[in-house]
C-alpha cells in the first residue's frame, strides 16, 4: 500500500486493481463521486472516501442509497457541467440499467468502473463478464482492462475520451471481479500535475447554466427521436479515432500506451487465433507462447473495447487465419456468448470460410487454467468447417460437453 502522498512516475507501488482505479479517479479530480457499495467494487469507493475525508481529494462524495441513485446523482452533476465518477458491479449495474441508457442518451460523459461479477440467480460474488456484456446496447463505451497499471491509466484516459467534444458518451471500465480487482501488482502512479496537464477541465456542451438556461432530458416524439439516436451512434463511432489520439498523447506524456481497440499477439502468421478480453488474456498469452515453442502457429487477439465494436480491426487482425475461437465469460442463453456473436458476424464474409468456436468459461468465478486454454487450442486445431457444436461450455461437470 503506497503512502497517501502523491507519487511520482518513477516509483512502483504494490496496489490492487481496485486501488489503481481509485488512484486514476482521484488523479482525474472528479467534482462529484456518488457511490453505493457492492462486492467486489467496495475498495474503490473506500479509498476515495478516505482521501476525501482527510482532505487529499476535493470531491463531493455522496453516500447514495442505491446504485440507481448513484448514477442519477452523477447525471445531475454532469448536467451542470461537473465531472463525475461512480463504480458498481453485477446486481448494482443491472439495477441502474435504466440509468445507463438515460446517461448515454443524455450525452453525459460519466466514467464508471464496473467490477465484472456473475449475475444472480443463483447468487455468486465472483468474477465473470455477464453483467457488462448483457448491457452492450446501453450506449456506453465499454473497455476491458487486463492489469492494474492499465486500470489506473485507462481511468484517466476514460475521462479524456468521454468528455471529447466529438464523443460526449459515458465510459464503463470493466475489471474482472477479484481476479483483477483484488490482485496486487506493481503500478506506477503519475504525479497530479502531470495528469492535470494531460486532462483539461471538463467543458460541457449541453448543460444547465444560470446565465443561459436550458431544458434538458426532454421528450422527443417519433418525428425527432431517431435523429438523437443516430447522433449517439455516430459519436460512438468517433471513439475509435479519439481513443487512439488520447492513448498516443498519454503515451507521449507518461511513457505508457496501449494501442487501439484490439491487441493482437503473434497473430501475423497464426493459423489459429483465440479472441478474448479481460485479465484471462495473460493466461492465454502464456499458452500461446508455450504452443509456439512447440511449433504450433497460434495467436491471441485481445479485445480492449467492446463498444464501439472494433469490427474493422478484428477483420484486419484475422486475415488469413483459418480457425478462430472466442473465449468469454458470458453467454446469451439460447444463443452464444455476446463477443462470439459479434466476432462471427464480422467474419461472416471472410473469403476462406473461417472455422469459429465459442468457449464459454469462467462463469461464476470458475478458474480458467493454462491447461484449459491449451485444450481450447487443441479443440480449435481439430475443428472442421462444420463443428458438432459451436458454443462450448468449458469444464462443465458431466461426461459430454453441452
Amino acid at each position: 500500500m503506497p503512502s497517501n502522498s502523491l507519487a511520482s512516475n518513477t516509483q512502483s507501488h504494490f496496489i490492487s486493481g481496485n486501488e489503481a482505479v481509485a488512484w486514476g479517479a482521484r488523479l482525474a479530480r472528479p467534482h462529484v463521486i456518488a457511490a453505493y457499495p457492492i462486492t467486489p467494487q467496495t475498495i474503490v469507493i473506500e479509498r476515495l472516501a478516505e482521501w476525501v475525508s482527510d482532505g487529499q481529494l476535493a470531491s463531493e462524495f455522496l453516500h447514495v442509497e442505491s446504485e440507481h441513485s448513484a448514477l442519477s446523482a452523477c447525471m445531475g452533476a454532469s448536467a451542470l457541467g461537473a465531472r463525475s465518477f461512480t463504480a458498481s458491479s453485477s446486481q448494482g449495474l443491472l439495477y441502474m440499467a435504466e440509468c445507463l441508457h438515460y446517461a448515454s442518451g443524455g450525452r453525459f460523459p460519466i466514467v464508471m468502473m464496473n467490477a465484472n461479477r456473475a449475475l444472480a440467480l443463483p447468487w455468486n460474488i465472483y468474477g465473470d463478464q455477464q453483467d457488462s456484456l448483457a448491457l452492450l446496447s446501453s450506449g456506453w463505451i465499454q473497455i476491458y482492462i487486463e492489469d492494474a497499471q492499465e486500470a489506473l491509466d485507462m481511468t484517466i484516459q476514460a475521462f479524456a475520451i468521454a468528455e471529447h467534444a466529438d464523443v460526449l458518451t459515458p465510459v464503463m471500465l470493466n475489471l474482472d471481479g477479484f481476479v483483477l480487482t483484488h490482485t496486487y501488482e506493481p503500478v506506477q502512479i503519475p504525479a497530479q500535475e502531470d495528469v492535470d496537464a494531460f486532462l483539461p477541465p471538463f467543458r460541457a456542451v449541453s448543460k444547465m447554466d444560470l446565465d443561459a438556461p436550458t431544458n434538458m432530458g426532454f421528450t422527443a416524439g417519433p418525428a425527432h427521436y431517431t435523429e438523437f439516436k443516430v447522433q449517439q451512434h455516430r459519436a460512438m463511432l468517433e471513439v475509435t479515432r479519439v481513443a487512439v489520439e488520447v492513448d498516443t498523447e498519454f503515451g507521449r506524456r507518461f511513457g505508457r500506451s496501449y494501442g487501439g481497440a484490439v491487441t493482437p499477439y503473434r497473430c501475423e502468421d497464426a493459423e489459429v487465433v483465440l479472441v478474448t478480453l479481460g485479465s484471462v488474456a495473460g493466461t492465454v498469452r502464456d499458452a500461446v507462447d508455450g504452443l509456439r515453442g512447440r511449433g504450433v502457429a497460434v495467436g491471441m487477439l485481445k479485445l480492449r473495447f467492446m463498444r464501439p465494436f472494433p469490427a474493422h480491426e478484428i477483420a484486419l487482425a484475422l486475415i488469413g487465419v483459418r480457425t478462430v475461437g472466442v473465449l468469454e465469460k458470458d453467454v446469451s442463453f439460447g444463443s452464444a456468448g455476446a463477443v462470439f456473436s459479434e466476432v462471427a458476424s464480422t467474419l461472416a464474409g471472410a473469403a476462406n470460410r473461417t472455422v469459429l468456436l465459442n468457449f464459454v468459461a469462467g462463469l461464476g468465478g470458475r478458474d480458467i487454467s493454462r491447461a484449459d486454454v491449451e485444450q481450447m487450442f487443441a479443440d480449435l486445431i481439430a475443428a472442421t468447417t462444420q463443428p458438432r457444436e459451436r458454443v462450448r461450455f468449458v469444464n462443465v461437470q458431466e461426461t459430454n460437453n453441452v
Binding site: G105, G106, L168, V205, N215, G217, E227, V230, Q231
Partner: protein
C-alpha cells in the same frame, strides 16, 4: 425571462443540426394553446378591483396584471374557467368561442 414568445420552428435537417443530446433553450415555444378552448373568459374592466385572485389562480399563467386591472393572454388560455369562479365580483364571464366574440 419575463414571458417567452412563440417563435417559428424549422425542423433541423440532419442529426448533426439537432442539439447535442436532449438539451435546448429554456422557454422555447413554437405554438399556442388557444385552439384548446371552446369558451373564453372576458374581463369587464369596470368591475375589476385589481385584487389579482384570478392571476394567482390561473394554472396556465394566462391572466396577468395590466395597470390596475387584469387581462387574458388568449394565446395560452385553455378556457378552464377557474378565473371566473375565483373572481368575487363577477368581473369575468365565459363566452363561447363560436359566439360574436370569437376571433
Amino acid at each position: 425571462m419575463p414571458k417567452p414568445k412563440v417563435r417559428p420552428y424549422v425542423r433541423p435537417n440532419s442529426p448533426a443540426a439537432y442539439p447535442v443530446g436532449p438539451c435546448f433553450t429554456a422557454g422555447h415555444l413554437v405554438e399556442t394553446n388557444a385552439s384548446w378552448r371552446s369558451e373564453r373568459p372576458l374581463v369587464t374592466a369596470l368591475l375589476c378591483t385589481g385584487c389579482q385572485r384570478c392571476v394567482r389562480a390561473c394554472p396556465d399563467g394566462a391572466v396577468f396584471q395590466v395597470g390596475t386591472g387584469v387581462a387574458i393572454d388568449y394565446d395560452f388560455c385553455k378556457g378552464c374557467g377557474i378565473c371566473v369562479r375565483e373572481c368575487t365580483v363577477k368581473a369575468i364571464t365565459m363566452v363561447s368561442e363560436r359566439g360574436p366574440h370569437a376571433v
